[in-house]
């Protein structure tokens, strides 16, 4: 069976920017950091599903938030990965990429973000502690400076609103702070994703969301999660998730249906 040429399936996009950055490049094993991917296109689109996030190797993905902001001048997508390194060493995370037909050249192209280099210290070593201390000091200094900058910006914005602007400036935040979501929201979103595309990754994200809803940390087992909640509906969903995640392939469809039913029942 020969599939259609990939180029035929590609969208035509005018990519203005594709960048990747980490909020910290010096961390210790077990310390959580964030990796933000920002892409801006001139078209007004509802989603950019073509964006492929990088392989993060042995690092544990604790969160994955995607925010899309559309305006007449284009669309900004900011995807923030919450990561936890498990092994010490120096890592280079390859840039996220997006395949599209370049609106400028009308040719299929791959747009890639810059790679990010990360130094992971083993456990709570002196180096890690030193960098942690430096980070805290810099954080305090930046917080003070940031407060002044924010105040100045607020004053400027207040003045700017009084007179009409010919072209409204579209603020592009490289790392957008995700809105506060409840664990139930996270389960609902993970369930929707799993129902749409029941991949193993989607299943593990749904299971992780259920664990978080029970109050169990990442890296916990089912027993920990069951011990953390007395909610019978959630417990049923947790057990179903375990059976679906680790059960044999021939029993997975039935277990999956049971998981969806149990999760929906809990969400109701």
């Amino acid at each position: 069976m020969v599939s259609a040429s990939p180029a035929l399936a590609l969208r035509t996009l005018h990519v203005d920017a594709l960048a990747m950055r980490a909020d910290r490049t010096q961390v210790a094993v077990g310390e959580v950091f964030h990796l933000a991917i920002h892409i801006r296109v001139r078209e007004r689109v509802a989603a950019l599903d073509e964006l492929v996030i990088p392989d993060v190797g042995t690092m544990q993905i604790l969160g994955d938030e995607r925010h899309v902001t559309s305006s007449p001048s284009g669309t900004d997508v900011v995807e923030t990965l919450t990561l936890e390194p498990r092994q010490p060493g120096t890592f280079t995370i390859n840039g996220a990429y997006l395949d599209a037909v370049d609106a400028r050249t009308r040719k299929p192209s791959r747009f890639s973000a810059n790679p990010v280099r990360l130094v992971v210290a083993g456990g709570t070593t002196l180096t890690a502690q030193f960098w942690e201390a430096v980070r805290i000091l810099v954080g305090i200094m930046l917080a003070g400076t940031g407060a002044l900058v924010v105040a100045a910006l607020l004053v400027t914005l207040a003045r700017a609103r009084r007179r009409p602007q010919p072209i409204p400036a579209a603020p592009v935040a490289p790392v957008a702070a995700p809105p506060k979501r409840t664990p139930r929201d996270a389960v609902l979103e993970a369930l929707r994703t799993y129902r749409t595309a029941p991949s193993h990754d989607a299943l593990m994200r749904l299971r992780a969301a259920l664990f978080a809803a029970a109050g169990a940390d990442a890296g916990s087992t089912l027993r920990d999660a069951l011990a953390a909640t007395t909610d019978q509906g959630l417990r049923t969903a947790l057990i179903a998730a375990e059976r679906t995640a680790f059960g044999p392939a021939h029993a997975r469809d039935a277990a999956s249906a049971e998981l969806i039913d149990a999760t929906e029942a809990w969400l109701r």
Partner: protein, 315 residues
């Protein structure tokens, strides 16, 4: 040496053996589970505990529950390999050598105080454990199936003992630490055993049942993530703080085999991360050699194992 008369049984379930052990042993849930899991996984168990905490009784109860042959060998400094494996005796009537099989040729072998015999005797036993056969003179004999060695050790009286090398300890599927019973359990012990001989529930399963369990447990599904978790746990022992030498790849095999056995015992067709995490201490504790600093600092090896397990996130 004792040999309880085997009683016929078939169609027995692993739970029947667990219940039979609980009918004799007061408390010691971890010990009972480890013995039944080792039976299902086809491995050997090392029991370490103070005298009088029912190590030997647990082994006798297991042997009685599984209607097979049982031999007990009290290990002493003057024991010889032939006392374990067997020997060849010249028969004057026929003018030929006849082979006399040793106590190793039994379904359940209790090696009491295994560290009191010299290294060559330990080696003879451990070779049989690994190869499941023994050579006497020019002939090699297969050991019976199922074949389980339950060895005991007392951690206190170290005078006149021969510590088992790491390579030999590695042959044990699991090492179980037998604790002192709780106050309530000790009261029950007085009530249950004060009148005389402890009750042993015999023949709740046949040797053929055990072989069937072993075959069926081998079919229990192990997801790649659960397998990887077991691998990561064992690898985490290498290079861990206060550890001189970490566990071998045999530890991964043991951990997965025990996880399968646990799932089978609980009636599941698949293993979970909980199986792996719960069983990891019994698989790892005897396969790790500790740094000298642990003795100087008065540290507890069990804490080291707990820390290693806690450092690896479950899938």
């Amino acid at each position: 040496m004792t040999t309880p008369s085997p009683a016929p049984a078939s169609g027995g379930r692993p739970r029947d053996v667990t219940d039979a052990l609980h009918a004799t042993i007061v408390g010691q849930d971890d010990v009972v589970e480890a013995l039944v899991l080792a039976l299902i996984a086809g491995g050997h168990v090392l029991l370490e505990g103070a005298p009088g905490v029912a190590k030997t009784l647990a082994c006798r109860a297991l042997a009685a529950a599984v209607a097979g042959t049982f031999r007990r060998v009290q290990f002493t400094p003057d024991l010889l390999p032939s006392d374990i494996v067997g020997t060849r005796i010249f028969d004057q009537k026929t003018g030929e050598f006849a082979t006399v099989l040793g106590p190793l040729f039994a379904n359940v072998v209790l090696a009491d105080e295994i560290n009191r015999a010299p290294a060559k005797v330990q080696s003879a036993l451990l070779e049989g454990m690994q190869e499941r056969r023994a050579t006497i003179g020019p002939q090699t004999h297969d050991l019976p199936a199922p074949f389980v060695v339950l060895a005991t050790m007392n951690p206190f009286d170290s005078d006149g003992t021969y510590p088992l090398p790491l390579a030999q300890l590695d042959r044990f599927l699991a090492k179980v630490v037998v604790p002192y019973p709780s106050r309530d359990e000790e009261r029950t012990i007085v009530d249950r055993f004060g009148a005389g001989e402890p009750p042993l529930r015999a023949g709740v399963a046949a040797a053929a049942d055990v072989l069937r369990w072993q075959r069926e447990a081998h079919q229990v599904f192990v997801d790649a993530k659960v397998r990887d978790y077991a691998v990561d746990l064992v690898r985490a022992t290498r290079g861990a703080e206060l550890v001189a030498h970490g566990a071998s790849p045999r530890a991964v095999l043991a951990l997965v085999a025990l996880a399968r056995a646990r799932a089978y015992l609980e009636g599941r067709a698949y293993t979970t991360p909980d199986d792996v995490r719960d069983l990891a201490p019994s698989v790892l504790r005897h396969r790790i050699s500790y740094d000298d600093r642990i003795a100087i600092a008065g540290g507890d090896p069990e804490d080291v194992v707990r820390r290693i397990i806690a450092s690896v996130p479950a899938p």
